[in-house]
């Protein structure tokens, strides 16, 4: 299965092809997608890194790192982790644990007071005021509403990767609470910058283009939005028409290949060619993007806290380059105590004329279906597992794995040597060192490779309620959409 994915990572035109494991009936799960970490289909092990699979094979570890295990610990332990985080300047992590504490000890006024202090320092005035009122009257005062919401401007930056992971947990909880259901959050892939090439690079490539910079985790808090509806892009020009154009040009006395064709002077081409093939080539040269259409409706809060909707369209920038794609932020989605987030896979990629091998979508049939048309409405469960990268090195895990340190485990579990040993295998300390040296060096997408036509997008793995597994890179013509939140919670 993994071997089948390799071409998709190597060859530009194949990037983003979903890879699906055929799941024998014995591996299939019962009907109804599991909402917790239990019940994952076995085929998921083929799509996740082996070390991740090994870590999560321990049920109690998985419950702690990808479930509600933290909330099951003692109130005193939750306070200790919160206080330790606060003393290190990790405000979001301290608040996350302060919230857990007020949840399990709702009549403890000092716990509410701590939460008020932390929220105040983070600029969450509404949560601070409500928590302060609870501190004065824990039993009668109303509980604070959700405050860490997409669209809000967070002035306090995350102090570490652990702090960022806690922030993602906070936003996952509050978005779900505010909208009445677990939702998918995304960030535009160019939220951390747009690279515009030099004139020399344009000459070398033959046409202008733009690239999204790797998406930094420090840009997630202020750029996250909830996905409400999404429609992926479509391929605009198939290879067959381009090939026809190239042949016609060659017949007219030009020695061209497909790679060089777009470097031709467009005016020269247009003035020379008047036949149909020339016209198709003119179109190809003038509008070289292979993708068109596509939109995503997002919702977020405005400055006044009101939910607003916004329709966004990805922008084509060159032959295969697109920017403005919605990149899922799974850690910030679904609710922090959930193992997975429910998303809708929108697939609009494969044309019959496409010379790339048709990809396979989920199927439990003996012969997996070959996709030749637009497919949407495929609901899948994506484990809340992400990959962070610093330079060329990447780390994969859950938000809790990057949020907790060994000493936190000791505080939460007492004798936690077993889990601490497992957690240490992630080597998150190296990631924290990279963050400390340069917070902008940690990214959740790797961006464009220097020698590739297609940027490396965000890889997502998921499974459906029939037990079939999916793995794909978010690409212009396929991405994940959120399940629409209930309208009543506006």
């Amino acid at each position: 299965m993994r071997r089948r994915l390799i071409p998709a990572l190597v060859y530009p035109v194949l990037i983003g092809i979903p890879v699906v494991s055929h799941v024998p009936a014995a591996y299939g799960t019962s009907a109804g997608a599991p909402a917790t970490t239990d019940g994952w289909p076995a085929c998921l092990a083929n799509e996740l890194p082996s070390e991740v699979v090994a870590r999560f094979s321990d049920t109690s570890y998985r419950q702690l790192m990808l479930g509600d295990g933290i909330a099951q610990t003692s109130p005193e332990a939750l306070y200790r982790v919160s206080a330790a985080a606060a003393s290190r300047g990790e405000g979001y992590k301290a608040l996350h644990f302060a919230r857990l504490l007020t949840r399990v000890a709702p009549t403890n006024a000092a716990a509410w007071r701590n939460r008020a202090i932390l929220a105040e320092k983070l600029g969450l005035a509404d949560e601070a005021a409500a928590s302060g009122a609870k501190a004065e009257n824990p039993e009668a005062a109303p509980a604070p509403g959700p405050s860490v919401l997409p669209g809000r401007s967070f002035a306090v930056r995350t102090a570490s990767v652990a702090d960022y992971s806690a922030f993602a947990n906070l936003m996952a909880d509050d978005s779900a609470a505010a909208l009445g259901a677990p939702v998918l959050l995304t960030v535009n892939d160019h939220a951390s910058g747009l690279r515009i090439p030099t004139e020399e690079e344009i000459e070398q490539r033959g046409h202008p283009f733009a690239q999204a910079q790797p998406l930094k985790i420090i840009d997630v808090p202020n750029n996250a939005v909830v996905v409400k509806e999404s429609s992926p892009m479509s391929k605009k020009i198939d290879f067959a028409s381009i090939a026809t154009g190239v042949l016609a040009v060659a017949g007219a006395g030009y020695a061209l290949d497909q790679g060089a064709s777009l470097a031709l002077d467009t005016t020269q081409l247009v003035m020379t060619l008047s036949d149909a093939a020339g016209e198709s080539f003119k179109k190809a040269a003038n509008t070289p993007s292979k993708f068109s259409g596509g939109s995503v409706v997002v919702t977020k809060t405005d400055d006044g806290g009101k939910w607003i909707e916004e329709k966004r369209k990805p922008q084509t920038t060159g032959e295969v380059d697109v920017v403005g794609l919605p990149m899922p932020v799974l850690w910030a989605s679904g609710g922090s105590n959930r193992g997975t987030v429910t998303v809708e896979l929108s697939y609009n990629a494969v044309l019959k004329e496409d010379p790339t091998p048709p990809s396979v979508l989920a199927s439990n049939a003996a012969e997996p279906a070959r996709v030749s048309k637009k497919m949407t409405d495929i609901k899948v469960q994506a484990p809340r597992i992400e990959t962070l990268c610093a330079g060329s090195r990447c780390w994969t895990g859950s938000a809790n794995e990057f949020m907790l340190r060994g000493e936190d485990l000791a505080a939460l579990l007492g004798d936690a040597s077993k889990h601490a040993e497992t957690l240490a295998k992630i080597d998150a300390a190296r990631l924290e060192e990279a963050f400390a040296a340069d917070p902008g060096s940690i990214a959740i997408t790797q961006g464009r490779r220097a020698d590739a036509f297609e940027p490396i997008r965000r890889r997502v793995v998921a499974f459906d309620d029939k037990g079939s597994c999916y793995a794909w890179n978010v690409a212009p013509d396929q991405w994940v959409g959120g399940m629409p939140p209930p309208k009543k919670k506006r």
């Binding site: 206080a83 300047g89 405000g91 967070f154 002035a155 102090a159 515009i196 004139e199 467009t266 403005g324």
Partner: protein, 233 residues
Amino acid sequence: MRITTIVILTAALLTSTTGAGQGALTPEQASLERERRAQAAETERQRRQLEQEQQQTNLMLMQSQMAANQAKAGAAAAEAQWAGSAAALGVQSGMQGFKDGDALLQHNASKQLLMIQQAAMSYLATRRESGRSNFGQTELIDPFAEGTPPGINPAALPSCLSLDRSLDAIIVSAGCSSQVCGGRLQDGDVLLNPDGTPVHSNADAQRFLEACNQQAAGLVVFRRSLSDVVPVR
């Protein structure tokens, strides 16, 4: 034969230089000439069409650039967008391609350039800066430690009041007696509720001060020592 050749060449020369004497052309020559002129006209028409398209594209480029500049409002941001302060906007290097606008506009893939401008505008329209301030180190109250009244936040007490953990109560801070309750209290006095119980929340401490400062607002009691509860009217 030689004379005939000279005549024909002369006629052809006259035709080509003056345009007159078309009637002297053979039908084949006339057909070729018509075809040549038609091609020239078509080429000219395409050239003009291209020029128009180029002008329209340039106009769109200018309009989009103006819109982007206006959208950014601040002159500094607008200048940064197209004039090289790319790093401030997260746009990395390569801006000379846009700085030298003429060079790029001369690039015949102007529609692609427009795409990039639109991409840049979408980037500018949707992107928000990340937070920059630090949280700083913060000390929390231990909700489970002995002697910590659960409802008191020492950091949020009114000035000149403090938490005495040994007494489990709020007291008048040292050196502050003249600034509290019209100078009627002393350093170390314990604030009490009207029912005689120690004040155990920030809100009750605030109410105590308000009543005490207004003097006539009602009974205020405080404890000067373990056995001495002093009512103040």
